[in-house]
Amino acid sequence: MRILLAEDEKDLSRALKAILEHSKYAVDAVYDGQEAVKYASENAYDAMILDIMMPRLDGVSALKQIRASGNYTPALFLTAKAEIDDRIAGLDAGADDYLTKPFAMGELLARVRSMTRRAGTYTVKKLKIGSVALDTSEQELSCENSIRLASKETKLMEYFMTNAGKPLSTDEIFNHVWAEDEQADPKIVFMYISFLRSKIRAVNGDIEISGSEGETYVLRSVSGGDVN
């Protein structure tokens, strides 16, 4: 799983990064709110950890911008003990949890685990990229025609649509979609991408998933839906 860490105190950032990486998370560390917005728009994360007081753009404003772009990645704020107003503003801006400094590392890791477990419940039910719509509760993909998707296909399509335009590696996809399935083999990723590609064609969709087997994939809109 991949985490975006926005914390301007270099020492704390370094310590957090080391501990998260020790727990097998991939971590992108940034040091201000503007960078956080930029990274969130370019990469797919499973969780975000944001400090509130940061230079250039504070954490609350950064999260507001991230949420406004349709990004519902679980987010946790780090706040100073006295800042009750900040905690309220942070939760109202779309944060899922907060932790007051100083905190125990064990608690931070437990909260990250808890957030990523619940990730699915935060996403919107209806997504749209180009003219292609996905209804996650009905598991229906539609454009000119409509077609039903299997549950893993729906989860994969949802992951692509909430991260449209961002490159997603086979590993990231596998860890996100097949996280709870211990028997799964990463080779399944390409097979499901093949299913989605044919189903996007079957509804005459104006989007495509580019990328070769075992590599990085990107979902993008294309002009001209019908490719008879």
């Binding site: 229906e140 000119e144 025609n145 409509s146 077609i147 039903r148 998707l149 299997a150 097979m191 093949s194 299913f195 590609r197 044919s198 189903k199 079957a202 005459n204 070769s212 019908d226 008879n228």
Partner: protein, 205 residues
């Protein structure tokens, strides 16, 4: 002979049998080449004179051979039912290569499904046959309708047909909605089966 087809009834039977034979022939040829049987079953019929008369009446046309053979295009009908979606398009390529046939109309309800979920490929062909037609052309011109679909599409269409011709079905709107959902689920299976076949044979890049 005072049925709606008049003297043409045997000709229609002959054209139907000839088409059936040609489809069986290219299917055998394709099987020798690729090992794939590109249709699962094939049915053909000449529309009964009673249904043809009834259809002309419904459309306010005189019940004459001219209406039945020139205005209507489905006196001769064939249905090709395939295991896989791509097999449908292979059949279409063979049919389009018939030298004595002209495609008058074709509708791809597979790529462009009807709102109720109906999926099939329809073609109307104009074929030449060495028997003078009503306009005096010799060889004469006759129409043949061909429908192509997968087994899943075929069983769906059979059920939908039952609904269409039964009056006062309980919970009709609910049934229509659920039939649509079934059509989309069956289409999903058809597409997945095709994708798996492509992955096995290595044609999926």
């Amino acid at each position: 002979m005072n049925g709606i087809y008049g003297e043409y009834k045997p000709v229609l039977e002959e054209i139907k049998n000839d088409f059936q034979r040609r489809i069986e022939e290219y299917t055998e040829q394709e099987y020798q080449k690729s090992g794939i049987k590109i249709y699962e079953h094939l049915i053909s019929r000449v529309k009964s004179e009673e249904s043809m008369s009834e259809k002309c009446r419904r459309k306010n046309l005189p019940e004459t051979p001219d209406s039945a053979l020139m205005e209507m295009h489905d006196s001769i009908g064939l249905r090709i039912v395939c295991s896989f979606i791509e097999d449908i398009y292979t059949n279409i390529r063979y049919i389009k290569s018939f030298p004595d046939c002209r495609i008058v109309d074709e509708k791809d309800y597979i790529r462009h499904a009807k709102p109720n979920g109906y999926r099939s490929y329809h073609m109307i062909l104009e074929v030449q046959y060495p028997y003078a037609d009503l306009c005096g052309n010799n060889p004469g011109k006759y129409y043949v309708e061909i429908q192509l679909r997968t087994i899943a599409m075929d069983s769906w269409a059979a059920l939908e047909h039952k609904l269409k011709y039964k009056k006062n079905v309980a919970n009709q709107e609910l049934i229509i909605a659920e039939l649509k959902r079934c059509a989309d689920e069956m289409a999903s299976c058809d597409v997945s089966m095709q994708t798996i076949r492509d992955l096995i044979t290595g044609t999926e890049e």
